[in-house]
Structures are given as C-alpha cells and as structure tokens.
C-alpha cells in the first residue's frame, strides 16, 4: 500500500502509522451522558467493508496528520487530506450551523 502524502508525494506504507477512525470526534467530557458517548467514541465501530475515513500519521516523513479515505476491502485509496484542513473545515461548518 502506498499513500500520497500532500507534502511529500507518494510513499510506502512503512513510513506511516495508523491512528484509527477519522469519522468520530471526541465527546464533551461535561455531558451528562459522557460515559456512554466515550464508549461509543472509543469502541463502537460498524466495520463496513468499503470506503472508510482513517487517521494516518507520516511518522517517518513530514509528520503531517492525514485523513485517508480507503476502501478497507480492496485497500484502494480514494483520497488523502491534511487532517488539519479537515478539522478546520469541520469547525467552520459547526460554527456556521450553530
């Protein structure tokens, strides 16, 4: 598997570390249902074969955090984005809808 880092270009999987599901966001610790929300955040996964958004870290390269959309059945990589850009866009959307 090779990942096309937005900074470095295409690199072998040996340069990257996998950091899990990129679709979940950390719950609010002060929520009255925080315990249930954290259980869902940490453990509950649908694990559907097909495209999935994952966090990867370019550990042996530029140290950028990435959101990789990968078909977990075929390993085909559909997109690679900077996790920072994804987070900023998500925050902007949250603000816009508030």
């Amino acid at each position: 598997m090779r990942i096309n880092c937005p900074c470095c270009g295409e690199r072998g999987i040996d340069e990257f570390s996998y950091y899990g599901d990129a679709t979940v966001t950390r719950p609010d610790l002060t929520s009255p249902t925080a315990m249930a929300e954290f259980v869902a955040y940490a453990f509950e996964r649908a694990n559907i074969p097909g495209p999935h958004r994952e966090l990867w870290y370019h550990a042996a390269g530029c140290h950028l955090w990435l959101v990789v959309t990968r078909n977990i059945a075929t390993h085909e990589i559909l997109s690679v984005e900077s996790a920072r850009d994804v987070a900023l866009a998500r925050n902007a959307n949250a603000k816009g809808s508030a």
Binding site: C7, D14, A60, C62, H63
Partner: protein, 193 residues
C-alpha cells in the same frame, strides 16, 4: 567558572571521508545548522524575512534553495533547516538567524544534533537503493530535491546537491554509527570493506 573548551569530534566513530571509483563518501563535520519552525500563521513573514536577509525564496515543497554561502532545506510544512559551512570564522547560523526571525519563528541550533554525510559517484543510487525507498532516478528526483524518509529504518533528510549525482544525508547524531554500518554494508560490493 572557567569556560571549558571541548575538542570537536566527528559524529562518526569509524566512517571517514574516502574516495573510490564507484562511490565517494565525505563526512561533513564542519557545518553550522539551525532548524526554523514558523510560528502559527507567520510563514509568509518568515519567507519575507529570509528573502530580505538572504535573497532566496523559502521552498513550500520538498526542495532546497541555495543563497550566498547558505542553503535552506524544506523540513516539513512551514519548517526549514538552514545549513552553512562553519569555517575558520566559526559561523553560527542560529545566532545569525535569531534576530532575522525574532517573534515569527523558532530558531534552534542543530549543528551538534545532526550528522551529515555527502555521497557521490556513479554507484551512489545503487548504494542508497538498498535502504532508501525514494525513487532517485533522475526522471523522478532532481537536483535540489529533498526527501524526509528513512534509510534502513534510520530517519534521514536527504537532498540532491548536483547532477553528478551527489546527495547529502542528515540524521540525528546518535544514529550516525548505525547509519555508517548500513552504508558500509550497502556499499561493500562496490568499494570493498
């Protein structure tokens, strides 16, 4: 307290500068280096300050730019490594850059934190291919190209100096001997032990 004077020591215990038909190894012990990390949102100001002071444009892609007696190596997003020869005048690039980038970037001396070696010669790509996953074919990687990667699991920053071809490789100083072991094994078939 009296100021102690410590003799400079190469990061490489056994690796010495040596010239062979297939490969030339040069241990670059007399460098002054500093890392530059832009403060959040200040990268354009950092670029402007370096442009004003050295007349070069800091690269935003994995490339090296050279100015008069100085080189800037891309080192990640909004980060660079400045490198120059220390020379008889004991040039100190950290001291030189700090006032230029005051308040807009973190400038940290790396001169004794990194070890740098220059490799050149007709078989240099074959030697590197045994541990470096980057395609160094001239169609894919050119002079002034930079790659942050690893050589046989040792983190390195590699850049191409010229089309000879010559490459320079920087690593954390404590990995210098491990790197030298890999390099001498990798080069053995071309230069002997």
């Amino acid at each position: 307290m009296a100021k102690s004077t410590l003799a400079a020591q190469s990061a490489f215990t056994d690796l010495k500068t040596s010239k062979h038909a297939a490969l030339t190894i040069e241990v670059l012990d007399d460098l002054t280096m500093a890392s530059i990390a832009s403060s959040k949102g200040r990268a354009e100001e950092v670029k402007a300050a370096i442009r004003a002071a050295y007349g070069v444009e800091l690269p935003t892609t994995p490339e090296r730019v050279t100015g008069k007696g100085i080189a800037f190596i891309w080192h990640g997003p909004d980060q660079w490594m400045a490198i120059a020869d220390r020379g008889a005048g004991m040039r100190d690039i950290e001291v030189e850059l700090k006032p230029v980038l005051a308040g807009i970037a973190a400038v940290v001396d790396q001169s004794d934190g990194r070890a740098v070696v220059r490799l050149s010669g007709p078989r240099v790509r074959d030697v590197l291919a045994k541990g470096v996953g980057i395609d160094l074919d001239p169609r894919a990687f050119k002079s002034n190209g930079v790659a942050i990667t690893h050589a046989s699991h040792i983190g390195i920053v590699l850049w191409q100096v010229n089309d000879a071809p010559a490459y320079e490789i920087a690593m954390f100083r404590s990995f210098a001997d491990s790197f030298a072991t890999w390099l001498t094994h990798s080069a053995a078939e071309f230069i002997g032990h």
